[in-house]
C-alpha cells in the first residue's frame, strides 16, 4: 500500500514523502498526537549536526492515538481506538526491549506518527476505551515512561518508602508525582521545583517545595529526577544531599550534555541510580488499566493540555511546533486531520 508520510526534511522544514508498506499487521489512522521535547529538539535543529544529518528526513512524533483502519489478524475491529507503541523490537534480547539496541524507536530511528496511515505490528497497539479523553490519551506514551520507572523502582527499593521526592515542575514531574499518588498511596509525595506558578498546579501532592527554599531537616527516602538538561546537575546534587542512605534515585531527565555527579556521596550513602527511558507494551497495558480504574486522573492530566492545534496543512504543523516551543508548561496536542 502507498502511504503519504510527512517528514522533517531539515530543521523547521516539513515535506510530503511517499512510502510503500505491506498490508500485514495493523493499519492505523492517527487521530490525536502530542509533541515531545525530543521532537522539538529535531525541529529546532538543536541536536548535534551529525545526528540531524544521519536521521533526517524523518517523520516526528512518537506519542499518539489512532483509529484502526485494518487488522490483518482480525483481532481488532475497524474504528477501534488504540494507543500506539513507538518502541519496535526487531529481535529478542536479554534486556528489556525499551533498552535494547535491537529495538527501533519511532521519531528517532525511523518514521514517527505524522502520516496519513501508520502500519504497526499487532503487538504495537493497545486498545483504549472510546470514552477516554483523546487529548490526555494522546500523551499516554509519556505516562508509560513514568509508569515503567515507578514499577522498576518498586521492585528494587529495599528501604521504606515513607517520603518520595519528585524533582521537576514540568510535564514529566507532574505525571510522575500523580502516578506515585496512585501506586504508592501510603507514601508522602513532595514535589521540588523552581517555578511557583507551576508548583501550584500540583494540588494532589502532599507538599510542594521551591528548590531554593527547602526546610531544614527535610529528608526523603527515594527520589525521582524529572528535570533534564543542564539543570539536572543541581537537581541531582540536591537529591544526594536530602536522600536517606540506600535510597534509589530514578533519573528521567534528558540532557544533551554530560552531567557531573557527586559519586563520593553516592558511595557513602550506598545509593542506587536507576536510568529510565522509553517504555514497553506492559507499561502501556498498565497505564490504560490504571486510567480505567482511576478515571479521576483524567481531570488532573487535562491540566497538562496547553495547546490544541488542528493540523490540516504542513504549515499548521509548523505553527504547532512554534507554539509548543514558547509554551513553558504543558503539552501541545495535534488533532490530526492531515
Amino acid at each position: 500500500m502507498i502511504n503519504i508520510v510527512y517528514r522533517l526534511k531539515s530543521p523547521k522544514f516539513f515535506e510530503e514523502a511517499i512510502d510503500e508498506t505491506e498490508l500485514d499487521g495493523v493499519v492505523v489512522r492517527p487521530t490525536y498526537l502530542s509533541i515531545c521535547q525530543a521532537d522539538q529538539r529535531y525541529y529546532q535543529g538543536s541536536r548535534p549536526a551529525e545526528v540531524l544529518e544521519a536521521k533526517l528526513p524523518m517523520a516526528l512524533v512518537h506519542e499518539g492515538i489512532g483509529e484502526v483502519v485494518h487488522d490483518s489478524s482480525g483481532e481488532l475491529e475497524s474504528g477501534d481506538n488504540v494507543v500506539m507503541i513507538p518502541n519496535t523490537p526487531t529481535q529478542d534480547d536479554i534486556c528489556r526491549a525499551n533498552y535494547s539496541y535491537k529495538s527501533k524507536f519511532r521519531g528517532s530511528g525511523f518514521d514517527g506518527f505524522t502520516s496519513d496511515l501508520i502500519k504497526l505490528e499487532s503487538d504495537r497497539v493497545v486498545k483504549i476505551p472510546d470514552d477516554f479523553n483523546p487529548y490526555v490519551s494522546s500523551f499516554i506514551e509519556l505516562i508509560t515512561v513514568a509508569y515503567q520507572g515507578i514499577s522498576k523502582f518498586s521492585e528494587i527499593a529495599v528501604t521504606p518508602k515513607d517520603v518520595l521526592g519528585v524533582w521537576g515542575d514540568g510535564n514529566l514531574g507532574f505525571i510522575t508525582a500523580l502516578l506515585l499518588k496512585v501506586k504508592c498511596p501510603d507514601s508522602r509525595i513532595i514535589v521540588f521545583g523552581k517555578h511557583l506558578e507551576n508548583l501550584n498546579l500540583f494540588s494532589f501532592a502532599d507538599e510542594i517545595c521551591q528548590i531554593h527554599n527547602v526546610p531544614e531537616n527535610l529528608v526523603i527516602d527515594h527520589a525521582f529526577e524529572c528535570v533534564g538538561s543542564s539543570a539536572s546537575q543541581s537537581a541531582v546534587d540536591q537529591i544526594i544531599d536530602l536522600i536517606n542512605p540506600q535510597g534509589i534515585i530514578s533519573l528521567f531527565g534528558v540532557s544533551e550534555y554530560p552531567v557531573p555527579i557527586n559519586t563520593r556521596m553516592i558511595l557513602e550513602k550506598g545509593l542506587t541510580v536507576q536510568g529510565n527511558s522509553r517504555s514497553e507494551r506492559e507499561d502501556f497495558v498498565g497505564v490504560v488499566e490504571t486510567l480505567k480504574q482511576n478515571p479521576q486522573l483524567f481531570e488532573y492530566l487535562e491540566k497538562l493540555v496547553t495547546n490544541i492545534c488542528e493540523i490540516n496543512t504542513l504549515n499548521d504543523l509548523k505553527e504547532a511546533f512554534d507554539k509548543d516551543y514558547i509554551s513553558h508548561f504543558g503539552k501541545t496536542i495535534l488533532k490530526w486531520n492531515k
Binding site: M1, I2, I4, V5, E16, A17, I18, D19, E20, L23, V27, R29, V69, H70, S78, G79, D116, L117, N312, N337, K338
Partner: protein
C-alpha cells in the same frame, strides 16, 4: 451501502511508448491499479469496490488482484464503458442489479491512475457524500488560469482564488446521481465529461473536499517516472 468505483475504462492513449495501459504499469513493486485498489479495500466502511476495466483486460486485472491482494469477495471487476459517464453508469447498473439502491447508498468514483489518494481524502469523501449528496476533491489552483477560446489570444484571466484543480474521488448519493443522469437530454450528455458537472448543470450543490498535491494522476510517462522517483526517495 458504500461503494467505490475505480475507473480504469480508458486505454491510456496519452501515455505513449508502451502498449500497456498506464494503470497496469509498475509503481514501486506493484501495478498502479493495485496500489489504488488497496486504498479502498482496507477501508472497512466501503462495502464493495468495483473495478471498471476495458473488456480485454478484465482477466488480467482479476489475476493481478489475486496475486497481490488475494481472494477478496469485496472486489468486483466488470467492464467499463465508452466514456467516463458510461463507465460510471455501468457501475450504477451493476449495483442496482446486484445490491439494490436505497436512499442512503453512496458511491466514490476514483481514477485508477491516482494511487496516492490518502485515507483522509477517502474518509472526507464518505462524510461529504453522506451529508450533502455530492462532493468533488480539489486543490487550490497554483498557476494562473488563462482563458483563450481561439487558442491564439488571451480572452480573460480569472481571479485565481476562485479556481481549483479537480482531482478524484468524486462522490455521490447514488440515487441522486442515477436520477440526474437519466434526466439528461442527448445534447447535455454529449458535453458532460465530468460527473460533478451533471450536478452543477442541474443546479445541484457539489461540496469541496480538500485534496492533496501528492494525489497526482499518472497520465504521461513523466508522471510515472516522477512517481517512482518519489517512491524510491521515500525508501532511502
Amino acid at each position: 451501502m458504500i461503494f467505490a468505483a475505480i475507473l480504469a475504462g480508458g486505454i491510456g492513449s496519452r501515455m505513449g511508448g508502451t502498449d500497456t495501459p498506464k494503470q497496469f504499469l509498475t509503481l514501486g513493486n506493484k501495478p498502479v491499479i493495485i496500489h489504488t485498489i488497496e486504498k479502498f479495500v482496507i477501508n472497512e466502511k466501503i462495502d464493495k469496490t468495483i473495478v471498471l476495466i476495458p473488456k480485454n483486460f478484465i482477466n488480467h486485472t482479476v489475476n493481478l488482484i489475486k496475486e497481490y491482494i488475494g481472494e477478496n469477495g469485496d472486489i468486483i471487476v466488470i467492464e467499463g464503458g465508452e466514456t467516463r459517464n458510461d463507465t460510471i453508469m455501468n457501475s450504477i447498473s451493476y449495483i442496482e442489479e446486484n445490491f439494490g439502491i436505497d436512499d442512503e447508498s453512496i458511491i466514490l468514483t476514483h481514477d485508477s491512475v491516482r494511487p496516492f489518494v490518502t485515507h483522509r481524502i477517502i474518509e472526507d469523501n464518505i462524510s461529504a457524500a453522506r451529508k450533502y449528496g455530492a462532493c468533488d476533491t480539489v486543490i487550490p489552483a497554483t498557476d494562473t488560469i488563462v482563458e483563450s477560446v481561439n487558442g491564439r489570444t488571451v480572452e480573460s484571466i480569472p481571479v485565481r482564488d476562485y479556481y481549483y484543480q479537480g482531482q478524484t474521488p468524486q462522490s455521490f448519493n447514488i440515487k441522486k446521481l442515477f436520477n440526474l443522469i437519466n434526466s439528461l437530454t442527448e445534447e447535455e450528455s454529449n458535453i458532460l465529461t465530468d460527473a460533478c458537472k451533471i450536478f452543477t448543470l442541474k443546479d445541484e450543490d457539489v461540496y469541496l473536499v480538500d485534496g492533496e498535491v501528492t494525489n497526482i494522476k499518472i497520465t504521461y510517462p513523466y508522471d510515472l517516472k516522477l512517481a517512482n522517483t518519489i517512491l524510491e526517495d521515500g525508501h532511502d
